[in-house]
Symmetry: C2
Subunit: 637 residues, 2 copies
């Protein structure tokens, strides 16, 4: 082959070019500025900018009446979910139920303007409500000073808003990438388990309970306060639970009847409230929500409290729920966007979520995200645009202005059962089996999250699950897979000898494909691995005289990696083994040249293809056969 | 091509096989049991075991008189380094100087038995001496209760010993792998800088000084106590410094005179001690070490103190210095072993270092490792085996028994200057320039360590440097490099179009080589990257109908990665782009099969070589050309 087919050792990009390319890949993988550059006139450029930063400007001009009817239906359906969820999740956070309703009014308006997804229906989420309580109750018991506690919850929402907006503006979507599918599955399952257990308080009608959120504390509390158990709420609760579960069964049998389970919770609330009022449930141990005021969200911007005694707990609650609700909300939005092939932009979502929490915290709302249950209902109800969130907001405003007091008659047991039922559908053991079958490490990450969250605490469970996932990434870098290559007859192809047992080895030559990257964490390992291959070949009677390193897959190398390659070469040369390097990638060549590696080993050690390298070894082996006395001293390396 | 050249989709290893293979690669990359299996008879097997666990059994039987003469010379030379280093590093740790001498007696004996390297000369090291002081002085000022302080230092050495032995037995050498070349360079440079500054106390003859180890505190202290500066120690110190530096200059000019700088420190001590005694230096502000007792190491096993008030600081000192001294000692041993092609085994070294510190802590020694300066001297003096350490121990025993009191006349300024001179040779700005030229990220890791250690504190500097290195590994996983491939004319080879500008693209086909691994942290990114490539092709006027994904370099995939591939396929199919997969590796195939990916996309989507896949696309493109109306809707993905 001619010179045109040699390894290109001259191509080198300047530092600035490499640096900006690196930044772009890290923070702008979706290339957001492309569309602006395409536009010529200033006016159209402005419009594109506006449409980029305010997605509403993109869909609203094309909006039609038929789309509105679809969105109206979807909006009606999600509102019927929003009311029970608002009240019950607020109870999880130990804040007055009315705040849960407020939270379904302002944030949906903000999201409909800035959100990029067409399916996400916003509102409070169960897991984060619990985390807020978990963190803030450590510094202030809500029973001691509920007014101050609520102010701290608003402050946490404010922290979340600032944090999420900043992440979006700084294009740090990369942080969310580090929540793996398994971490989220494990965390959500663990949350579902402990939420189901925690609802036993309401179902059994207990007055006292534990404030700790783990399974064993809940069981201990039930045993301790067993004398408080009343049969009346249990009966009412079980009836409602059976009703709710059977509505889901209906949808499973007839997917078209998706609205049956969606309407289930509001029906359960209305029916049980009327029933409780009729039988004077309070006299029989069936406690109700209590007084709810009329009126839409009051301002809360003057209520923030940055008192250093509480702020570290508040900030922790805000940051943890901020990143978690983003990870969940973005993952959920993306899943539906993929199904429908509609737009979804992680960085825009971050900004939308951030603004939603920021403006929410000014108007008596607490943490908002895109909960899975509500979003699924929205999707199934046939929503077309973010207008369904506007419909939700409008209906919620009407509810707050006229109907709120009526929801005060809701029995607590109904709320508990609604949460239980929602959480039961999150328990998906199939996913665990699937993970176990496909990837044991993913399974361990997932089960660690589940067990940690349900038996220790939400923070600890999540922390260990994320740490395990990071450990996996680090372990990958520390031990990148290498393999020996053999030749597939006649094809000129070289493949893993273990994967293709019919491949044949080249006598006297060891061909090793290195895994990527060659970094400090593995340069030692790679040396040991290669020496082990050579000893193995020797043991099987083949005297190795050439080592061919296939670098096709190595996309990155660092200083320690370069030193490692030099070390390998030095050790092998002492043992009369020549090292040939095949197809290094651009990033690698640049550094090998800059570090004088290429100068030291010589250009003639580089080959563009495995075939070229093998041919070169065969030529030099023929020459060497005459004086065949090379031997490799393994014991001393 | 026939069936034999299709992707092998059937090869799948059992979980147990994969798991043990994974464990072996992670913890036993050097395959330590190989040699035992090779032996047949029980006796030889036992001998091999003994030689494995006690390397002395390997070299001692072959030992000869000529080897001993070489080791004797080396031992003499390193003892002359050991005495000044012992005294001066003990001062760094704020413990009585005699402990520094004790530390050059017991640990070398242990190392000569268990150490695998032939070059490492053991003794205390400067950086760790300072870290011990840094940590323990936070809970107990040595001036307040020196007896208790010394007990805590012994306890820290005990902790180090247990920790290092455990690491070795658990084969956790992988931890040491995470100290990169750049981290160690940066840390050592930073330590050298702050040690040089800290020696100004001795050089200027100051009585008061700061206890903080950072450059600005030292400068402030000098300004604050400038009235205490005496000219006499300055003059003596500068004379000695010029002498020591010129001995190094001699070696540089004549490498054979390596013993000149090696003897420099002991000469400096003897001459300056005699001079100080003659001129009655104490009257002129030249302070000496003071009384030193005769006698070898007393037992200290009964002195350990695990008082919980101090233990967390003691444990931290023990663990940090334990891992750090291992990283340094192993790296140094390895560098010399590579030069000479002599044995060196990281896991054995860990055990040897651990036992050395364990037995050392029982016999009044503090933390011991293989310091760079001493090891380099040992190597240059021509040591052949670990016998040189035994010689060091014997000479040190004689010194302790008979000469110790004489070293009490050493002026402190001489010790300061010896440390300064040793540290000056660690400052290597060439290495920084080299790092800057080759790898900017490595440079940042290195400079962070240097600046952090010298201006903030040793722990903080090291911490940030390690965190940056970990971040780099994580960033690698989050953004593995992909590239577009083009065909090199006639060769059947496909290479990066940016690296090989003469490669030509195949019309209607986009060939992308994915980087490894496909993990949760990058599955999103890879999707965006591919869509961006497709938009780019479209913008340049080529309508893409086939996407070929080259997985040759992808050595690992997880659940999120598999879901990502499915997502890419779903999005592209909606846009009438077919996805072909080329040469997936065994680890990847196993998971793609287990997760039903192969079942979903069909076996016909898999190709063994890029050429096969391109040929397949050309065939289907010809068919498709007739109805050429496919278009790709980018705005909606």
């Amino acid at each position: 082959m001619g010179d045109e087919h040699a390894v290109n050792l001259t191509k080198s990009r300047g530092f600035f070019k490499k640096f900006t390319a690196g930044l772009k890949e890290t923070f702008f993988p979706d290339d957001p500025f492309r569309q602006f550059q395409e536009q010529r006139s200033a006016g159209r450029k402005f419009l594109k900018y506006l449409q980029y930063f305010v997605p509403m400007c993109e869909w609203l001009p094309k909006y039609s009446l038929s789309l509105f009817f679809a969105d109206l239906l979807a909006g009606l359906t999600i509102t019927s979910v929003a009311i029970p969820q608002g009240i019950s999740y607020a109870k999880l956070a130990s804040i007055p139920p009315i705040i849960g309703l407020y939270t379904a009014f302002v944030p949906p308006i903000v999201y409909s303007i800035f959100g990029s997804s067409r399916h996400v229906a916003v509102g409070p989420i169960a897991s984060c409500s619990l985390i807020i309580y978990d963190n803030i109750s450590k510094v202030l018991n809500p029973d001691d000073d509920i007014v101050l506690y609520v102010r701290l919850v608003f402050t946490a929402a404010f922290v979340t808003g600032v944090f999420q907006t900043a992440l979006g503006l700084l294009r740090l979507g990369i942080l969310v990438d580090f929540f793996s599918h398994s971490t989220i599955t494990g965390f959500m399952t663990g949350t579902a388990i402990i939420l189901i257990f925690a609802q036993l308080k309401g179902l059994l009608g207990l007055k006292h309970f534990t404030t700790k959120n783990n399974v064993q504390s809940v069981i201990q509390a039930i045993i301790k306060y067993r004398s408080e158990i009343r049969w009346q709420p249990i009966v009412l609760g079980l009836v409602l639970l059976v009703f709710l579960q059977s509505t889901k069964f209906v949808r499973k049998k007839r997917p078209k009847l998706f609205w049956v389970p969606a309407l289930g919770p509001i029906v359960a609330i209305v029916v049980s409230a009327v029933f409780t009022a009729l039988i004077k449930g309070e006299d029989h141990g069936i406690v109700t929500v209590g007084h709810l005021d009329k009126g839409i969200n009051p301002l809360s911007i003057h209520l923030f409290n940055f008192d250093p005694r509480y702020f570290s707990a508040v900030a922790k609650a805000g940051l943890v729920t901020g990143i978690l609700s983003l990870a969940e909300g973005i993952a959920i939005g993306r899943s539906f966007a993929v199904i429908d092939n509609t737009p979804h932009d992680g960085n825009k979502e971050m900004i939308a979520f951030g603004l939603m929490n920021l403006l929410g915290s000014f108007t008596s709302c607490y943490l908002t995200s895109g909960p899975f249950s509500k979003t699924a209902v929205n999707y199934n109800a046939g929503c077309k645009t973010a207008m369904s969130n506007l419909v939700q907001a409008a209906l919620m405003a009407l509810t707050l202005l006229f109907l709120a007091p009526l929801f005060g008659y809701t029995p607590l047991v109904a709320l508990s059962v609604i949460i239980m039922s929602a959480m039961l559908s999150l328990l998906d053991y199939h996913e665990f089996i699937h993970l176990f079958k496909v990837d044991k490490f993913d399974f361990v990450i997932c089960i660690t999250g589940t067990i940690g969250v349900s038996f220790i605490s939400m923070d600890v469970g999540l922390f260990f699950s994320v740490i395990l996932a990071l450990l996996r990434a680090l372990l990958y870098v520390a031990r990148p897979a290498t393999c020996k290559l053999g030749r597939l007859s006649d094809s000129g192809l070289y493949r893993d000898v273990e994967q293709y047992p019919n491949s044949s080895k080249v006598h006297g030559v060891l061909i090793v494909q290195l895994g990527s990257p060659l970094y400090y964490a593995n340069s030692n390992y790679i040396k040991e691995r290669i020496l082990r291959y050579i000893r193995g070949e020797q043991a099987s009677g083949d005297i190795i005289e050439h080592l061919i390193l296939d670098l096709s897959g190595v996309t990155s190398i660092d200083m320690t990696g370069i030193k490692g390659l030099l070390e390998i070469r030095r050790v092998l040369e002492k043992n009369n083994i020549q090292v040939l390097i095949v197809n290094p990638r651009m990033e690698v060549v640049e550094k090998l040249v800059a570090s004088h590696f290429v100068g030291k080993v010589g250009k003639e050690s580089f080959y563009l293809s495995l075939d070229d390298a093998v041919m070169a070894t065969q030529y030099s082996l023929q020459k060497a056969r005459k004086s065949d006395e090379a031997s490799f001293d393994t014991t001393d390396t």
